[in-house]
Assembly symmetry: C2
Homo-oligomer: 411 residues x 2
């Protein structure tokens, strides 16, 4: 398949991808679009020209929730119709005024109104590394970890779109050897390399989603940076879990790559031993081969890749996460976001957080120009990229990027 | 102050209260109302008759969020206008068709669209009891507990209004002495007696709310039953906190009692020792003297009160909770809900959960007709009531009630 739109070879937004997002131009109201190369297809313009089977107003909203809520049959057809319209054989859009907008002219927004946000903890390598550092090196994994995809509820209100700067959070921290906490800006600010899926089909309270049907409820995926203040987290998290160490911000990439676009990149996950309970059993390839990388750019300095990982490493897959999440009857809503947990690989260069890369701050990470890091410093920018490639077909996520600003002076 | 509406002496919904809620009649669209005695004031009818300074459409929505978002100056005036219209001196409403609807004709709905839900853990007595049972009787309180109001994010989607039945959840449970979990309906289903406050004024990401300004951001309060499956919770909660043991459902009372209505019932909280960090310091009365009780009714049997507690016992007050929640820059939105955590008192009859009342299932609670309970059985109904009273002024919450249905057969 090829398109008449100019798409560079290394573009994430090929004719095979066509992710959905919310953009605005010149301060006008945000609206829905599909990315192709360095352009955005303005879906409202296409709908107004009767080129799509969906009414224009669905694309003139500040979030994709209502559109996604139309169901996969319809959203899938919109994506395929756009694919057809962009293909070489078709020229209708070439003369449709406003159909394409340059990404460099557009501002991207949060694609969905996120009702609930859940964060899992599904990488064996990450959980093992954290367990070694925070608890017992000999018994790094807790007894429940291989029996269920451990997860917890996170803060939805503070999820921001790529490009949004984040102030270093302040909070309670227990200085080493002390018994009384102090209040200060976090001294151990970290990222977590994650991916997140977005719910596309709701359930009723009391209903459960099986592993087999999970894909019907997942609309698509984004890159997810779960910013973490390790010192705040360490003092607060027992017994009820992470709270202020995480809730100051999480960042996501603006384009939702659909599950359909990711279909060619499915692979078998790692084996699960011990055997999981029947409601978590999955067969066939339910992991995804998505290359991931994290880079750090100090202010006025070069960007440097500090981690290369892959989403295929995950021990628990998304279908299992969703089946577990709903097995107690918990309902899900369109726009709910569920993140993977930090995606670490076996290799030290595949660790998905500075906590692991610097091994709790003990090991300096060398950057260019003689700079080093253990945790994030003020004015550093963290960027994450992700793409899948197979038989010359490339489907990517663009990036999620965020700059850490100094802590605010007032409390 | 007195009203021409017939309000029984023991009514929670006096002329001093006037809580806001969302109701519907005869299957029509839900709309906003104010409770008085056994009646509901239909606010849209009053607005249409130009008796309020708010446009009618704000009262014709399925949630109060947009109305609350107008700000306290306006919402407070609406309440005071309704108070004036209901007072003996005023008769305008008597002849306004549809202004009053009987509560017995109405169906109550969730009053707000809840963005994020947070659950605190702010009763010293409850945290101590749980610590004794689950961890170390000698060191029941964890080191952070008296330095910060411990809290965690909960699931917003599964919060339901009083009267909604809840199926017993199923999930992973570790049988005593075993190393491998099994999947089954919860055998230790519990309630938690809580109250929750509702955010009335949003903040931007990066902004913090001080203890002094917290009241500006709190619209009002409801009763909150944080249903808990203790066996599921116990197996899953380390290290990231409660998840499926809670997320199957939480129930709230339908009427939001405003902070203004609760003003006369402010009292000093218990002293805090050790001294808290400056951002948590509070002066003056910031606790509320609200009588609380929980009753249990087996199917076809009498209702019996099994707990009497009081909201004034809380170690951490709402202003401190909100200041802590936002001190890292976490933003809040109108409609966010923040629950207190189980409200237990010193006395054994003031324990706010069956876990505490039955001391982990070791002690049978005697009901009438020879029945006993350690945890909730199928078809039991749990009801919570709350009211404040001072100088013959009574302001109450009505009730939050929920019946536990047997676990669903399918998974």
């Amino acid at each position: 398949m090829s398109t008449w739109v100019d798409v560079p070879n290394d573009s994430d937004f090929t004719i095979y991808n066509l992710p959905f997002g919310i953009f605005s131009v010149d301060g006008n109201e945000p609206r829905a679009g599909i990315a192709i190369g360095a352009q955005i297809v303005d879906l409202a313009v296409l709908a107004k020209a009767d080129l799509l089977d969906v009414e224009e107003h669905y694309f003139l909203k500040p979030f994709l929730n209502d559109f996604i809520g139309l169901g996969k049959e319809i959203t899938r057809k919109v994506r395929l119709d756009v694919q057809r319209l962009l293909s070489d054989e078709n020229s209708e859009l070439k003369n449709l005024s406003g159909a394409l907008v340059g990404q460099n002219e557009a501002t991207m927004h949060l694609p969905v109104n996120i009702g609930d946000y859940t964060d899992f903890y599904s990488s064996l390598e990450h959980a093992t590394n954290v367990g070694k550092m925070f608890r017992d090196p000999e018994n790094a994994l807790l007894p429940n970890w291989k029996h269920l995809p451990v997860g917890y509820h996170g803060r939805a209100s503070s999820i921001v779109v790529s490009g949004t700067p984040v102030h270093r959070p302040k909070g309670q921290v227990l200085p080493k050897g002390e018994k009384t906490p102090i209040f200060k800006p976090s001294g151990r600010l970290d990222f977590e390399l994650e991916m997140a899926f977005i719910i596309g089909k709701e359930t009723e309270l009391g209903e459960s989603i099986s592993v087999e049907k999970a894909h019907e409820h997942i609309f698509g995926m984004v890159l997810f940076n779960d910013w973490s203040a390790r010192d705040i987290q360490k003092w607060e998290y027992v017994p009820l879990g992470p709270f202020l160490g995480k809730s100051f911000a999480s960042s996501i990439s603006p384009w939702i790559v659909t599950l359909e676009a990711l279909e060619p990149f499915k692979v078998e996950g790692p084996g699960q031993d011990p055997e999981v309970l029947p409601y978590l059993k999955s067969t066939g390839p339910l992991n995804y081969d998505i290359n991931l990388e994290v880079s750090l750019a100090p202010e006025n300095s070069d960007t440097q890749t500090i981690c290369r990982s892959n989403f295929k490493y995950m021990y628990w897959n998304m279908a299992q996460q969703l089946a577990h999440h709903t097995v107690n009857g918990c309902n899900v809503k369109v726009g709910d976001m569920m993140a993977s947990g930090t995606i670490s690989g076996k290799d030290e260069t595949a660790y998905g957080s500075l906590l692991e890369l610097s091994w709790g701050g003990k090991k300096s990470i060398k950057l260019q120009q003689g700079e080093t890091r253990t945790f994030i410093e003020d004015n550093d920018t963290i960027s994450m990229k992700g793409y899948a490639i197979k038989n010359d077909i490339r489907v990517g996520f663009g990036e999620v990027s965020g700059k850490i600003l100094p802590a605010k002076i007032n409390i």
